[in-house]
């Protein structure tokens, strides 16, 4: 496969590219979904192809073919250069690449139980049984699913990169919906998007879906008659680690993507409130806030050995003791910003151009347990499990909703609250962080549906997180 990639690169160079790289990818996926006691869909897919990136002037040209033959590889290389050359009709400043040592190597994610070795019947039994359990415990609609992504890729570049990787990702999700007179309530486990990692079927077994199905169904039913989250201009807010993963993803992860900061995503995904001139001096949050982007974390969904332009994975400090110190970058964006590549460029398939994506962007743990946070809170609200998420195009103003909330009074968890929401402005919100969960609560949440780019790409990102407490937060915004 490396020879195919090299042939594509050579064709692009011969057609005028000053740099080119090519990825040959084979992807195999399985997705099964059950609803109300029966498997409703089982979909498997195989995709193989070559994607070639060619650099001419200020623009990348990219061409992909669903064909792994030498002729197709050469054609893709030639077409990539042709597409790049067309960009010179609307030119900009020449695009440079941050220097890296051309890597040659292999990497594979660790899999303890091959998900393909688990029979379809066993997988189906699991999903059907948990949906039946949820129906038995009060759900009106019960859903469960699993997904497997198995990707092999071979990279070659005109600088001498020659890398192959085999990444297996796996996980599952389930939810219970209760239908009331005027509204619906939903509880998900382990999170709204489930839980996924660069692991095998052992991850699904560890989730213990059967052990949690009755509880979430009962909670969904209880929420229908719970009191509504009060509308308060300021209260103490404790967020569970799953909601914190969403908070990190939306208000930190996207904000520190260097392509957004440079305006490359301005028309679609948006820009960022961050200004590179403030790197190293801007206060992003309280001193408890330490965020890293680390693709080397074993088993996390955003882990890999090399990014999709061949830069070895390495941890990057993003926020250190509340100060903004780093960004997610690739070779092109890093060169423009005058920094080394952060190895954060990935594509969601052979047919998409690699772009800046989150790796495992998460909080480093602190000292407290969730119980200690609740005990230390006299008057506040605890919310968990993301339900809705909306944030402006600069990643500054957010309003997030959770599936479930509890009132906290006198250091104790009290009555259940439905439709909890909170809203804030990124740096003010993070500045109010005053309690941080400890290492025993550190969870590597996986987000398998991060949309970005045109044409749209679906990224898989990881978010190590812990429960946190924030002070003086507006909650209970209603329509």
């Amino acid at each position: 496969m490396h020879d195919l990639a090299s042939a594509a690169v050579e064709a692009a160079l011969n057609a005028g590219a000053r740099y080119a790289d090519a990825r040959v990818m084979e992807m195999r996926t399985e997705s099964m979904a059950a609803r109300n006691g029966a498997v409703e869909s089982l979909e498997r897919a195989e995709r193989a192809g070559i994607g070639v990136r060619a650099l001419i002037g200020s623009s990348w040209g990219f061409f992909a073919v669903p064909d792994v033959t030498p002729a197709a590889a050469r054609r893709a290389g030639e077409e990539a250069a042709k597409v790049a050359r067309a960009s010179t009709l609307v030119p900009g400043r020449d695009l440079e690449l941050a220097p890296v040592e051309p890597a040659q190597g292999s990497w594979a994610s660790e899999v303890l139980e091959d998900p393909w070795s688990v029979t379809v019947a066993e997988k189906g039994d699991l999903l059907e049984s948990v949906t039946r359990a949820m129906l038995d415990h009060g759900a009106d609609v019960a859903e469960a699913s699993h997904d497997i992504w198995d990707t092999r890729k071979w990279l070659a570049s005109s600088e001498g990169h020659r890398i192959d990787q085999h990444i297996v990702e796996c996980g599952a999700a389930m939810s219970a919906t209760a239908v009331g007179e005027a509204e619906t309530q939903r509880r998900s486990y382990p999170g709204i998007r489930g839980q996924y990692g660069t692991r095998g079927w052992e991850l699904v077994r560890e989730l213990d879906l059967p052990g949690n199905a009755p509880r979430i169904a009962e909670e969904a039913r209880q929420l229908l008659t719970a009191d509504a989250c009060p509308a308060l201009d300021a209260t103490d807010l404790i967020l569970g680690s799953e909601q914190m993963a969403l908070q990190i993803h939306e208000s930190v992860g996207h904000a520190v993507e260097l392509d957004r900061i440079l305006g490359w995503e301005a028309a679609f995904a948006g820009t960022s409130w961050l200004d590179l001139r403030q790197l190293g001096s801007l206060r992003f949050g309280s001193e408890l806030m330490n965020i890293t982007a680390d693709a080397t974390l074993p088993g996390a969904l955003g882990s890999f050995g090399y990014d999709d332009e061949g830069t070895p994975a390495h941890p990057v400090d993003i926020v250190r003791q509340g100060l903004w110190v780093g960004a997610l970058s690739g070779r092109d964006s890093a060169a423009q910003a005058g920094m080394p590549s952060g190895a954060a460029v990935r594509a969601d398939g052979y047919n998409r151009i690699p772009m800046v994506r989150m790796t495992n962007v998460g909080l480093l743990p602190g000292e407290q347990s969730l119980d200690e946070m609740i005990a230390a809170t006299d008057d506040g609200i605890f919310m968990d499990t993301n339900r809705s998420w909306s944030i402006d195009d600069k990643r500054l103003n957010f309003q997030f909703g959770c599936e479930i909330g509890w009132e906290i009074r006198g250091g104790r968890r009290g009555r259940l609250l439905r439709n909890p929401t909170y809203t804030g402005i990124g740096p003010r919100f993070w500045g109010s962080l005053d309690m941080l969960g400890n290492r025993s609560e550190w969870t590597f949440w996986g987000t398998p549906n991060c949309g970005k780019g045109q044409p749209m790409q679906v990224g898989h990102t990881g978010h190590p997180s812990v429960p946190c407490r924030f002070r003086g937060i507006r909650v209970g915004v209603r329509g």
Binding site: A33, A45, A86, S388, N397, Q399, G401
Partner: protein
């Protein structure tokens, strides 16, 4: 590109299924084509991409046990055999699906003729020229956006004898112009690249950006709004996905009540794949012709959309609104058409006592599907309107609003006469006008 359909591949897949499992039901979709997108930012093209498409999807049912399998690649004999074997193996290992509705019966699908050979053959230079026109018309303002073309040829066949062919092209140009303090958007979409006027879109974006500059905050609260077409398309997406969806209705999660006047009498909309202003083919992922469905007529909810599974559950027939990979969502729209009114945007604004003109919505998310409470923000230009005149630009606002109430009886004060084609979620396309609504709940400024 060639417009030759891929019927032979579809037939070969069915033949392979029959030789391996003579009693199996099967449906196969073969799609070929190309997709290209020229992306610009900081007023220059920075990402210019293109791909060839070759996709085969097979769904089989063996004694009521169902599985789907697909692959991207040349449809050679080895690949097709592997596809068929994989699907049959997975189906046989699955539990029986008691609600499997069977494959679609034979029926005719009209050819909406949403094809333009010049768009199918469009070169990267042709897209770049439209980008150049957009950038040039912004007259020095920084610009960003994308010009996209797509051409697909689809062949469908199933073991019940249904055979369909369709082909479609689509093109869009969507961008912003930026001042130091504001963005403005301009866009166009059609089945023909030749219809896209880059200079007009760029000029509109620049005009909006300049007029939106130096905006001031507006006190949160309820205001009248004039929503431009992108906002209206967004609003309808939520109504369709969570409401006019046979699955949501069957499960009691939908707000829709057939026969009730749930909307203002000024509101009528349908899903109609044959509308000449629309894009796409006239059959769905299950090979069912897409029927015109009048969903809301003069404010009265008339129907919801169905795929074969939801239709079976409801004791009716599919309306042709299954999308590939969309089983969990239910039946979704592909070609929404809202009836135009009789007022220009200026006339809509003239009727506003005190309200906000909104160009685009951004990052809208549902809080409750039954009540259709949605939160989101304005983007690319908003203005305060008083006594029928634009008074000043306002900074982006967050809203938390029931979309159902916003279009409810007595809530619509005017419907625009012009319509724009806007791309929506789940690959749907929305041909919609601007609306003047009586009340919209702005819950905060974007700066806090």
């Amino acid at each position: 590109m060639s417009a030759q359909p891929s019927e032979a591949t579809a037939d070969r897949v069915l033949e392979l299924v029959r030789t391996r499992a003579s009693s199996a039901e099967a449906e196969v979709t073969v799609r070929t084509g190309n997709q290209a997108l020229t992306r610009f930012a900081n007023s220059s093209i920075h990402q210019n991409v293109a791909e060839e498409l070759s996709h085969v999807l097979l769904r089989v049912a063996v004694d009521g046990r169902v599985a789907a399998s697909s692959f991207d690649g040349p449809p050679d004999e080895d690949g097709l055999a592997r596809l068929v074997d994989g699907a049959l193996e997975a189906a046989r290992a699955s539990a029986p699906d008691a609600d499997w509705p069977g494959v679609a019966p034979v029926s005719h699908a009209p050819d909406p003729d949403h094809w333009d050979q010049a768009t199918a053959d469009a070169s990267p230079n042709e897209r770049a020229r439209r980008v150049a026109a957009f950038v040039g018309a912004a007259d020095g303002l920084e610009t960003a956006g994308a010009c996209e073309t797509e051409a697909t040829v689809t062949a469908f066949a199933n073991t019940a004898g249904q055979r369909l062919n369709g082909r479609a092209t689509a093109a869009s140009l969507d961008g912003i112009a930026r001042t130091a303090t504001a963005d403005g958007s301009g866009r166009a979409a059609s089945m023909r690249l030749g219809d896209l006027d880059g200079a007009a879109a760029g000029g509109r974006a620049a005009e909006k950006a300049r007029q939106a500059s130096d905006a001031q905050d507006l006190e949160p609260g309820r205001y009248e709004v004039v929503l431009e077409p992108q906002c209206v398309s967004n609003l309808l997406q939520f109504l369709f996905v969570y409401g006019f969806n046979g699955r949501a209705l069957e499960e009691g999660r939908s707000f829709a009540r057939i026969g009730e006047a749930q909307f203002d009498p000024a509101i009528s909309f349908a899903d109609d794949a044959t509308d000449p202003g629309q894009v796409g083919v006239a059959f769905d992922a299950e090979g069912t012709p897409k029927r015109r469905v009048d969903v809301v007529e003069r404010g009265v909810t008339r129907a919801v959309l169905h795929n074969r599974r939801t239709a079976s559950g409801a004791g009716t027939e599919s309306t042709g609104h299954s999308i590939e990979g969309g089983d969990a969502w239910g039946a979704l729209p592909s070609n929404v058409v809202m009836a135009a009114g009789d007022r220009s945007t200026e006339e809509l604004l003239a009727g506003v006592e005190r309200g906000v003109l909104v160009t685009d919505f951004w990052y809208t998310r549902i809080l409750d599907p039954r009540t259709q409470v949605v939160t989101g923000l304005t983007r690319n230009g908003a203005w305060l309107v008083e006594d029928g005149r634009i008074v000043r630009p306002v900074a982006n606002l967050r809203f938390t609003q029931s979309f159902l109430e916003a279009l409810g009886p007595g809530a619509v004060r005017g419907v625009g006469s012009g319509r724009e084609l806007v791309s929506g979620g789940f690959e749907g396309a929305y041909l919609v006008p601007a609306l003047h609504l009586a009340s919209w709940n702005f819950t905060g400024g974007a700066q806090g």
